[in-house]
């Protein structure tokens, strides 16, 4: 049911098939056909689309903040309590705000990005406990191995690894790509090198040299990237997943996690969330510069990418 929160009703958007940039991401591996009939607040909201509570509050239970509606704790789609640890007090405040600010009539499914992401984090953590129900795990696509393999595919054709021809936009786009991407790629190679015995070299796609073709990384790179994914906590994995799906870039996920981690980010990977968003949409920035924004497409997607990246950043911060 989480999907209902993460994207808006596409059926109501007839222009969608024309949209060149589909940025709305749904979690990988969610079985859309399965009815989820657990009695939880998030499911009830998703099904009825109506506000059914009066008061939203935060309860401090010693180690965690619980989000409560009329003094009943909100449950995630899989029936776990919606709670964040006390180091994430600002996140708790924002979660409360999300529920307080919902208009009472016809709640739209895109209104709760933070709740959606935090629910995914909590549910992933719970279905990956040793004695958890494998059926539940399958239901939300919560198998770690599976998620990691799906995410690795994004490294092959990463947004930050694809370079446009020199001739395009009088070379402006290529210049911007070289300036932005090359240092990041070098730093990520170094960063992934920690997880491998041999130095890592990322394969890039240069449209001038390679033309149109697919791309795939070497086995060492994949192994190192996989090791990196295995080193992540389940919360970080869910955040990483959200970022990768939004930006279509594995590297942007690394950037985001590095910048929100408690200790200082690895050398050369310091960046703000805004510049992550810009790196992920560099080509669109140049296109809209030249041709103008298409209504109901570029303006909506610009906000969508940013709100999702920022939401991931906010959840990642401790």
């Amino acid at each position: 049911m989480l999907r209902l929160f993460t994207r808006y009703n596409t059926a109501a958007r007839p222009g969608l098939s024309l949209r060149p940039l589909a940025t709305q991401a749904s979690p990988l591996g969610v079985d859309g056909s399965t009815e989820n009939n657990l009695k939880t607040e998030t499911n009830r909201l998703a099904k009825t689309g109506e506000k059914f509570w009066e008061k939203v509050s935060l309860k401090d239970d010693g180690s965690q903040f619980l989000v409560q509606l009329d003094s009943k704790t909100v449950l995630t789609p899989l029936g776990n309590a919606l709670a964040v640890d006390k180091r994430r007090s600002l996140l708790a405040m924002l979660l409360k705000k999300e529920w307080t600010n919902l208009p009472s009539l016809a709640i739209k499914t895109h209104a709760l990005p933070l709740t959606s992401l935090v629910s995914r984090c909590i549910d992933l953590e719970n279905v990956n406990k040793p004695d958890s129900d494998p059926e539940m795990r399958a239901k939300i696509g919560g198998d770690r191995e599976h998620i990691a393999n799906d995410l690795l595919r994004y490294l092959d054709t990463d947004t930050l690894l694809v370079f446009c021809p020199q001739a395009e936009f009088e070379g402006a786009l290529r210049k911007a790509q070289d300036e932005r991407y090359l240092p990041i790629i070098a730093s990520v190679e170094k960063f992934l090198g920690q997880y491998s015995t041999s130095p890592i070299k990322l394969r890039v796609l240069d449209a001038d040299v390679d033309g149109l073709r697919g791309n795939s990384q070497t086995n060492e790179t994949r192994k190192a990237a996989k090791k990196f994914l295995e080193s992540l906590s389940l919360w970080d994995l869910a955040i990483f997943e959200k970022t990768v799906l939004t930006t279509k870039s594995f590297i942007c996920g690394v950037l985001l996690l590095q910048n929100k981690a408690l200790d200082k980010s690895a050398e050369g990977l310091t960046s703000t969330m805004e510049s992550v968003a810009q790196a992920a949409t560099l080509e669109i920035i140049h296109q809209t510069d030249r041709w103008g924004e298409v209504e109901d497409t570029h303006d909506v997607d610009k906000r969508d990418v940013r709100r999702n990246i920022h939401a991931a950043g906010i959840v990642a911060y401790k």
């Binding site: 808006y8 009703n9 109501a12 958007r13 007090s89 600002l90 708790a92 405040m93 924002l94 409360k96 705000k97 307080t100 600010n101 919902l102 208009p103 009472s104 009539l105 016809a106 739209k108 895109h110 209104a111 990005p113 929100k260 703000t272 969330m273 805004e274 209504e295 109901d296 303006d299 909506v300 906000r303 969508d304 940013r306 709100r307 920022h310 939401a311 950043g313 906010i314 911060y317």
Partner: protein, 158 residues
């Protein structure tokens, strides 16, 4: 310290804008409900008036009716957009506390506050755009059905 103050201000500003929008919507919904309730009461009084022959009771019912009418008028005149109290944000204690704990010189926290501000702004703008381009999504289910039927010249039979 200056940067922290600026970040704090940004977040509060984004919060006020986002909150105000949804609070206006919530207020409108509340008013709608209250008016429906008062209208129902009014209907009951009119029914009572028709049934009774007692002049005294009739006079008091008339008074009640007038009172209800006045209440409905006041509710209809209520403009949430002009309400100054919506320009204040209620729960800022957590942000202030976390800033004070860090003594305001933590770069990471300041950056985080900027992110929160951007998140709130982008979320609000996104909602506004979706609403603008999909105007009908705000209508209730009955209203949507009624309008769809109306488009092809039919009437919904209730």
């Amino acid at each position: 310290m200056k940067q922290a103050a600026r970040a704090y201000r940004d977040v509060i500003r984004a919060m006020v804008r986002g909150d105000r929008r949804s609070r206006i919507a919530q207020r409108a919904e509340e008013t709608r409900k209250q008016i429906a309730m008062l209208t129902y009461k009014r209907m009951n009084i009119v029914r009572q008036q028709n049934e009774t022959k007692d002049a005294m009771l009739n006079a008091s019912l008339f008074k009640d009716l007038q009172l209800l009418n006045r209440q409905v008028e006041t509710l209809k005149r209520d403009r949430a957009e002009n309400d100054k109290s919506l320009l204040f944000v209620r729960d800022t204690a957590l942000i202030r506390d976390s800033l004070l704990q860090e003594r305001g010189d933590n770069e990471r926290l300041v950056q985080h506050l900027h992110d929160i501000g951007s998140f709130l702004t982008n979320q609000r703008e996104y909602d506004e755009l979706i609403e603008r381009y999909n105007g009908s999504s705000k209508l209730s289910q009955e209203e949507t059905v009624r309008r769809t039927a109306g488009k092809v010249g039919l009437h919904v039979p209730f």
